[in-house]
Assembly symmetry: D2
């Protein structure tokens, strides 16, 4: 088995998740390429050393540039605030090192375009960290739709709703300023990415983006609390989306439903181990949505457990992601979602922001126009 030195930039919430994933993925999936936790970068020497010890890296640094350029760091995971994504990624690609970058790509559309250019110029593996679509259930949903199991798709509805800012008295923090930290920057990309994966490109949309609670204890809120979209997909499907961080009661409301001419699919991440499938076949009296529990018959489940219904969780999604990243590196084949796929998400986000401002339908620029 070959080994690959991993450097992770950022030791917070997602940095830890990626560190654990890189630790576990080898044994979990039996990969031939095995990650070695080579270096972690954080803001200060002290925090870097803390993360190093906590997560089991060989070395820590307060200088991401040092990490990227270290010869024993052979692949880079970016788990920093969004504004640093571009710079780090460009540095890594310039050295020919594969990059797994947390979503969303960069702090702006311009960043994202530059990152795609850098990634494709380098020719190495590049992936964006959309973890939720990697559950066995959502992978299976995608497969079912692609295979025509529900016929021609006629409708899509998606949401990414949580309630961590539902309380109007929750104080202002770094999360309540900066477009990238608002609902469109932070939550919407997950579900837009799912929409693109399940249905295909979005060609036009009309949207509203709003800050419901403009003042919070501690200051003004300068990014959005919730948003809604109506859209058309390239294949003609009509759809709706909703994103919110003030959706009282919703904890992980990453949910979608898809209607087709011969069936339908429903999914809610709050019960991530179940996929609901309706097939318009057989006697009318026996038709109904089936609650399918994920198991070894579904993508990327078996490495976690031999028994169906035993369940995977949040951390497992990141492990699946790590596996895919290793696969992309090893096979030198792009694994979805690449940076280019991530750019498509950001174009939809951008069109929604524009539509909300112009109060008009917007076309979404398609792929070749980088």
């Amino acid at each position: 088995m070959a080994e690959i030195g991993i450097g992770i930039v950022g030791g917070g919430y997602m940095g830890k998740a990626h560190a654990v994933a890189m630790t576990a993925v080898g044994a979990q999936f039996g990969t031939s390429l095995r990650p070695r936790l080579e270096m972690i970068a954080a803001r200060t020497k002290a925090s870097a050393e803390d993360y190093r010890q906590a997560f089991g890296f060989r070395r820590g640094t307060d200088d991401w540039d040092q990490l990227v350029s270290d010869p024993d760091v052979e692949a880079v995971v970016i788990a920093t605030p969004q504004k640093l994504h571009r710079e780090i990624a460009e540095a890594a690609f310039s050295l020919g090192k594969p990059v797994l970058c947390e979503k969303p790509m960069g702090a702006s559309l311009e960043d994202a375009e530059a990152m795609v250019a850098a990634a494709e110029a380098s020719g190495v593996a590049n992936m964006v960290g959309y973890n939720y679509i990697r559950t066995p259930a959502s992978q299976f949903a995608r497969k079912l739709i692609a295979e025509g199991a529900i016929g021609t798709v006629t409708w899509f509805r998606g949401e990414h709703t949580e309630d961590f800012y539902a309380d109007p008295d929750a104080p202002a923090t770094w999360r309540t300023s900066g477009m990238a930290n608002g609902t469109m920057g932070d939550l919407a990309p997950h579900m837009i990415n799912a929409a693109l994966a399940l249905i295909g490109p979005v060609t036009s949309l009309v949207a509203e983006v709003e800050t419901v609670h403009t003042q919070r204890p501690g200051g003004a809120v300068t990014n959005d609390d919730q948003a809604q979209i109506m859209c058309r997909f390239a294949n003609g499907t009509m759809g709706q989306m909703h994103f919110s961080r003030i959706a009282t009661g919703r904890k992980m409301g990453y949910a979608y439903e898809v209607h087709g001419t011969h069936g339908a699919i429903r999914f809610d991440q709050e019960d991530q181990n179940a996929l609901w499938l309706y097939r318009a076949e057989g006697p009318e009296a026996e038709r109904g949505f089936r609650k399918i529990l994920t198991g070894p018959a579904h993508p990327d489940y078996l490495p976690f457990c031999q028994g169906p219904g035993h369940g995977t969780g949040y951390q497992d999604q990141i492990i699946i992601e790590a596996h895919d990243f290793l696969r992309a590196i090893e096979t030198r084949t792009p694994v979805w979602p690449t940076f280019r796929d991530g750019l498509a998400v950001m174009r939809v986000v951008q069109a929604a922001l524009t539509s909300s401002r112009t109060r008009a339908w917007q076309d979404v620029p398609q792929d070749p126009t980088i």
Copy 2:
């Protein structure tokens, strides 16, 4: 106990439901005013006689005008195709007879306006038959929101989705032509009515209305299969709606969810005896959506059963409606939804149709502008 002679125009699906309701409502609710099934009108003498016998009316007629003007018919229920609603209602009101009219009001906005004028000129009881909002669960939802149980409302999502035309090979019938028989004419009014009742007036919207399957065996389809709306309510709430007759797997998808600053509500008519309530109070570790089963503690449940969770059904909604209509007659007090309330629904429908054509946001004219 006083008696009132009821005349029902139309003996089909809804005519039967109203006939049974008028038969049962007295015993079920212990009303002081008791309906007497006086006369039923249908298209032919033969069908009128069939309905008379089947439903237990004293007399039948093939002439609705005779029914309306008969002195022993003291109140009129209109359950005909929509194009006849206006004419019958105007005739009844001109004779000072109360009218319960099936939704939607008339075949056009003009009809609806004329009907409101006639109703209000007569001063007698007038009601529109939006049955779904009359379940104990939805009545309770309305009460909770009105009382502020979930705080300030921040989001509304509603749908009325069924799948009776999901199969592209289902043949064209009378249902696939005529705006009033399409999704916006037939299904959308129910959920728009719910939205107005739960949240308040809709002031602006953007919509798409589409015919997905334009050809069916037997001919072209000239009305809509599905539609979507994004809207703003007068109180500032943002919202989304979706209506469909091709929503594969959905049988009675009259569903809504409402987020507020201190709670949330979810409802789905496919499980009409449950209301889901989330309250943002108490220890975080014990918070969750409660599945409240309707019972004697909820509106209009006790007349049907003393035990909670024992459940009411579709026909019971029509009985509740009959009870409300009798109450409006007896107390000479308007009972929601009056014709004026029904007109408000039709204005939203009209604005949606316009928006779909213009592909632009539309303002919805408000009440005083009749």
Copy 3:
């Protein structure tokens, strides 16, 4: 259409339900035989007159014997306390009048045996009022099992749980004394009847019957709060049951699950319009319990509504029962559950009481041994 004069003995909870059912059943089902609400009997002249007016009977009486012997009363519905069941039924049968008797039959096994003898000697229609098994969902479950849709049955679990006495401080009333009013007398018969209908005869069992709260404000409790049974059916199936009036949180917990070699069925009356079916067929990855919403494709649904998923409720079960009773009268063919079927339920109840006392497995006497 022929008419039949109905007499109902008892005007309380169930008396009202039967009165409404007899009022509505004709129009709802389009029966050829039409009930005429001839007479209602209650304890006092005043209450009889109240019920007469409230439910729309022609006459009232405080003497059930007068009701039974009145020539215009052609069929009798017994909705009195259990201790009167036998006497009334015997009187009616002696006059050749069909009887629909609320469950359970009589106050004792001896009563039940005598009632079967009287019923069968008279040769007229006789039915016991087990309403819950008459939902479209449970009728369909029974049909599926009988047709072998889930293969050979290997397991049954049933419960009838409510929580109306869960609060230890709820006061003692008539309900807390008398075996017939306890859990084994009042609730268990419903689920035992379901077990017999779904799986077949119970041949042996071991049981525990207990009074958890022996003292309540107002006095001692002399009947049971909950009970449990393990049993064997004649076809070899193993099973469990549980009955409770102190099942906190359960409102209408009439629920069962049946495993078979090729499928499984689950049902819970708290969501009475859904039946869950699992079929062990098709690709493993697509298997799951389907939530089938009842509709026109299921037994006795269409008379209530043409649309699937629109739902039936508690009162509708009694209407279905009335329809079956009319059918039994008209066709002179026994309609399940007859008095003999009701006796089989009581034998299981009796064996459970005995087993709880002896703390040993008990055989359940089978049918021929009346």
Copy 4:
């Protein structure tokens, strides 16, 4: 941070799960004691080497005795067939090495008793691997009940049902012979352990244990397919259990419900991230079972994710177990369930087997009687 050398005996299903857990637990929980994957033992040199590489151990061996006695192996995880549990555990304890042993303990009650004696003589950490009860939801359920959140417990129902042998044509394998591999040996201990944890000791029971499909392709079946128990707990609570490997449709049916005088709890491992709680408080109209999604407010969730509702899975249970084992080692304080707790489970299993044979209630010997 200190390090501890871990040896795992067995590289199959559970061996892998424990290996991954030991790899991940340090970073996931930020433990001060860090596992070092020192040695893995398997049946052959070749398989040991395969496991070593796959899971990242330093060394492999085909001799478990070598593993146990190796000075760098400081703690032992037993993940072999049950018949080896005792011998390995005794060897480890004799060297003063802590042991985490997969359930159930040993192949017989005698084994289990000897293992408790050895563990307690050694005085080192000893734990049995009941993973399912370690979900944040079930830990929280246990806490709620212990704190009296649902009042005095009045009822318990538990099941552990799966369907991996539901198909009568599934062939005979090693799993269909040997008591330890049957339902009572393999599945029942999980739920019995849960019952003891949630409610307390079981003092008496009556049970049935049966082999439904006695012949399968490839040979006779000599262990049990399903079983049922009725029992009494030391605190007087009445209860039922059911265990099955032929429960068609059930994939991970580890489920329980507990009624108390002031509330109730329901849980089903097939949706392991939700706990259903009913509290008999507040207005009747607002009562209902709440679906609580696990999150940072619940035990052992936060190490996996900062967001509630994001979910943990099967592998995470094993990681929690590893964390508890490390804690027991480090603090030299017993962490539930110790070998003595595991013995209590086996005594219930034994009493059930006896009861099924004698067809009589059995007392369950309590703890001091080792």
